[in-house]
Amino acid sequence: MKYSIFSLLSQAFQGNKGWSTAWRDAQPKDEYDVIIVGGGGHGLATAHYLAKEHGLTNVAVLEKGYIGSGNVGRNTTIIRSNYLLPGNTPFYEWSLKLWEGLEQDINFNAMVSQRGVINLFHSDAQRDAFARRGNAMRLNGVDSELLDREQVRQIAPYLDFDNARFPVKGGLLQPRGGTVRHDAVAWGYARAASQRGVDICQNCEVTGVRIENGKIIGVETTKGFIRAKKVGFAAAGNSSRVAAMAGLRLPIESHVLQAFVSEGVKPLIDTVITFGAGHFYVSQSDKGGLVFGGDIDGYNSYAQRGSMPLVEHLMEEGVAMIPMLSRLRFLRSWGGIMDMSMDGSPIIDKTPIEGLYLNAGWCYGGFKATPASGWCFAHTIARDEPHKLNAAFRLDRFATGHLIDEKGQGATPNLH
């Protein structure tokens, strides 16, 4: 069923009794042309673009839980393309362009909201760094504006502009950045892929990989062996575990990232705004809750929960930036497992095993990348070679020295 104003009206008159399920909950067949491991945003997007752009429809997405149970349903929904380095900027900008046309493409309301993203700066040195970033963005055709203190005040009067330690001196604004309803991204891509014939198989955990003569021939799952000509891993926080099944070690550590939502309040923050003297960012959901997050906890973790010191630290940052937050109660917190790579940038590449492809290393910025990641991964799998947009995201860059380290932190995954 195509969603439109007409389907909405006709269903309204029929008491909304005629809606069909959005996508088919499939059982795996014996054999596929392509199997994608992981039904998160990236896996589902890959399946959609494989079908739409490359005509590959004999495709399955295997998900160990339910779709949306991983990071795609846990993130703080921010999209932006304010990157500095050549390998990153065109890729994230392509992603933002795909977001802009996504709802028409997949015929699903993903609530793409380009409400702008402002990164605050609090010192002259930081202003210089942000000016440089903004210029790099503009050189790549990406929108950016350097705001002075008064311009920021007009958008966000509630900030503590004269905080003794972290006065607000201005901000770097990307007007086209914003938020997208994360669950709708999983459901929308699933529906679009499913309509083109892709099988989405839930509760189907991949437990092993069968390789013969250096070539992949299929995967072992909790629902039996499934043969495949090609297999793509898109398991986010579990990338190392899945890769280990194929005998690969990755330049990745798994870490927990927490997020929080407050009680609902009237419209207050109509943009995405980030603290520049620490790591804290906030936006307001359509339900009224303030959604905020910050840094990873810092130690390796596969548990989808974090610990209290980070909570306290984050609340302190939030109140330093927006003092009135101290009056707000927060409702819930949760955690997701991030695939933190050694340079803070992702990997979308072939692997040394023929027919096996890898999509991993998204750190805590992989939601915004979802459309371009799926688009590039589909290209890499279908054509057996990377697209130029993901050509820099190579697995062997750690050996050749072609790292893409936005923060210049070095091989310390918990600091990216």
Partner: protein
């Protein structure tokens, strides 16, 4: 999460700085580049019992090797890194 420092007792994880896996062993300068690449960049990224470095920055300033389950966050044991290295 609390860590048991052999010198200071049970303290909040807040006092410690984590540095990741304690398993990679630094190669000698004579060893081939592949060993170095592996040491610097590649990790087993274990789901389960994991030996890892923590620095007791807000306490005795010792480097510790903590064995911790990365799936449950259960602390299994703590040793002084210097003693393990000796």
């Amino acid at each position: 999460m609390r860590l048991n420092c052999p010198y200071c007792g049970t303290r909040s994880v807040n006092e410690f700085v984590p540095l990741g896996s304690a398993s990679p062993k630094r190669p000698t300068l004579a060893e081939p580049i592949e060993r170095w690449i592996d040491y610097v960049y590649f990790r087993d990224n274990i789901a389960g019992e994991h030996d890892e470095y923590f620095y007791h920055a807000m306490g005795c300033r010792s480097w510790l090797i903590v064995t911790r389950n990365t799936v449950t966050h259960e602390i299994i044991g703590t040793k002084i890194a210097r003693e393990v290295a000796a």
